[in-house]
């Protein structure tokens, strides 16, 4: 089971990333839950300085930008296997 956290205060890009995660999960048939972290005080705990940040299974995978769809799919599949 993947635990995906989208980290951001709710700016348009953070919402886009969240949508993209849901899309990929559906298309790749992954078992995952997507959480949102919106409290700025918690961002530093994940090591996020630029939003949106993406944390999968407690690992920070990207921040400050939205990954391309197939990159995101690859990341999530890799994490699901390991």
């Amino acid at each position: 089971m993947l635990n995906i956290k989208v980290i951001g205060k709710g700016c348009p890009n953070c919402e886009k990333l969240e949508h993209l995660c849901h899309e990929v999960i559906k298309e790749e048939n992954l078992e995952a839950q997507v959480e949102k972290v919106t409290d700025v005080n918690d961002f530093a705990d994940y090591g996020v300085m630029m939003t949106p940040g993406l944390v999968v299974n407690d690992k920070l995978l990207s921040q400050g930008k939205i990954p391309v769809k197939h990159t995101l799919a690859k990341w999530l599949n890799d994490q699901a296997e390991s």
Binding site: K9, N13, N41, F43, M49
Partner: protein, 438 residues
């Protein structure tokens, strides 16, 4: 049924009804204000959208997509030298803070995991104040001098306020557990100079396309020469942009040349320089969106589009409101708004301590959507605001607002927020006084 929501809708209905019912349609003052509102909106549309705002959005897009922000972030780490952190923090707003929602997370990380309170505050202040879109529009509409004063003021403010805050709270800072900050580093795709070349080509196109006419009667000298030849110079940089698109962004050469040829043809056929600008922008957008080789090229135009979507509606609203309330003043036009000029002169005219202080306080608490401070200030200055108070408002305004104070308070607490606000207001007042007297 959600009562709260329904009641809110009812409230707006009543508000609009009362407005419509009592609207002073036949009063001269009201009619003049409506005309001023329409006139100011038309002036913005004619003078500023195509040649200035559209290219500026593309420049902001370059910053968001092509410039690696990780490279800057490493200077905010706990190990970085203090003076380096301060100087980077005070100018990095230009490349980091193109979107206001990135500022607060960065601020909180620098404060908690990185270089500490001082640089964090410096960044918090300078981020919104010197973002590239704001500087471009300030210099274009309020004059080059005001644009420059805004940059210099913002950088000095950032360093001074940051240092003072960290001095006041130096004890607390020492006790803080030092934990390493996670700095994201993506590998650079291309050498720095290539990105810089692309970036400055766009900036120079913007600068020369908007080169202001010299004062009446001036017909010689370097500035006049540049103005007289500004379209040739702009065209030269447009050719550099074609090279940049082919060799730096690696777009397909044939397509780029076709787009360039169409743009050039439109430049020779059309009488207005706006036509080739629009054709060129459409060309760049289509080329990058269809590019299959590098995802970043497409992202460039998409993020440009995001900026446009975010900023244009609010700016348009800001122009309408400013025109209605404060009138339309530009060139030879001078139309009054609903608010009598005398009020503006009484409150913020001249360069008294009160005017500057009042402008600072209002600026600090009022919320300005991105860039809307510019048309509002244009209106105020047209109605008689002094240039000192205008700068005070510019320096206290965009970085601070009531909603944003509440968020900052959540990160650093009430006391520090209060000190920060007071420092900003005092410094804005002083710089207004200085600027107003030179």
């Amino acid at each position: 049924m959600e009562w709260k929501k329904e009641i809110r809708i009812l409230f707006w209905f009543i508000a609009f009804f009362l407005f419509a019912y009592f609207m002073p349609v036949y009063s001269d003052r009201f009619r003049e204000a409506i005309m001023a509102m329409l006139d100011l909106t038309r002036w913005y549309a004619q003078e500023h959208v195509i040649l200035c705002l559209l290219p500026a959005f593309f420049i902001a897009g370059v910053i968001a997509v092509f410039i690696s922000q990780g490279a800057v972030l490493k200077y905010f780490g706990a190990q970085a030298k203090k003076w380096v952190s301060y100087s980077i923090a005070s100018v990095s707003g230009v490349i980091l803070a193109v979107c206001s929602c990135t500022i607060l997370p960065l601020f909180s990380s620098i404060h908690k995991r990185g270089a500490g309170l001082g640089p964090a505050i410096a960044f918090l202040y300078s981020g919104p104040a010197i973002n590239i879109l704001a500087i471009i529009l300030t210099a274009r509409i309020l004059g080059f001098e005001m644009g420059l004063a805004r940059i210099i003021g913002a950088v000095i403010f950032a360093i001074v306020i940051g240092s003072v805050m960290s001095l006041i709270y130096r004890k607390e800072e020492k006790d803080k557990a030092e934990r390493q900050m996670n700095v994201p580093m993506d590998e650079e795709k291309r050498p720095m100079w290539q990105t810089a070349f692309h970036f400055f080509t766009l900036v120079l196109i913007l600068v020369f396309a908007n080169w202001g006419a010299p004062a009446e009667g001036v017909e010689s000298g370097g500035w006049y020469w540049i103005w007289a030849h500004k379209w040739e110079i702009t065209a030269f940089f447009a050719i550099l942009l074609v090279f940049s698109l082919i060799y730096i962004l690696k777009l397909k050469r044939e397509y780029v040349l076709i787009a360039a040829a169409i743009t050039a043809a439109s430049a020779f056929l059309a009488t207005s320089p706006m036509i080739p600008m629009v054709v060129g922008i459409a060309g760049v957008s289509i080329l990058t969106l269809l590019d299959k080789r590098d995802e970043d090229n497409k992202q460039w135009t998409l993020s440009t589009w995001d900026f446009a979507k975010q900023i244009l509606p609010l700016l348009a609203l800001g122009v309408l409101v400013a025109g209605f309330l404060l009138g339309s003043t530009h060139g030879d036009t001078d139309m009054p708004g609903v608010i009598p000029n005398q009020w503006v002169v009484n409150l913020v005219g001249g360069n008294s301590v009160f005017s500057n202080f009042f402008a600072s306080i209002v600026g600090a608490f009022m919320y300005f959507a991105t860039l809307t401070e510019v048309p509002i200030l244009q209106g105020l200055m047209g109605a008689g605001m002094g240039k000192g108070p205008a700068l005070a408002l510019l320096l206290a305004g965009p970085s601070l607002s009531l909603p944003n104070m509440l968020v900052i308070r959540g990160v650093i607490g009430t006391k520090k927020t209060l000190v920060y606000v007071i420092l900003v207001v005092i410094m804005a007042t002083i710089s207004g006084l200085i600027y107003g007297s030179i």
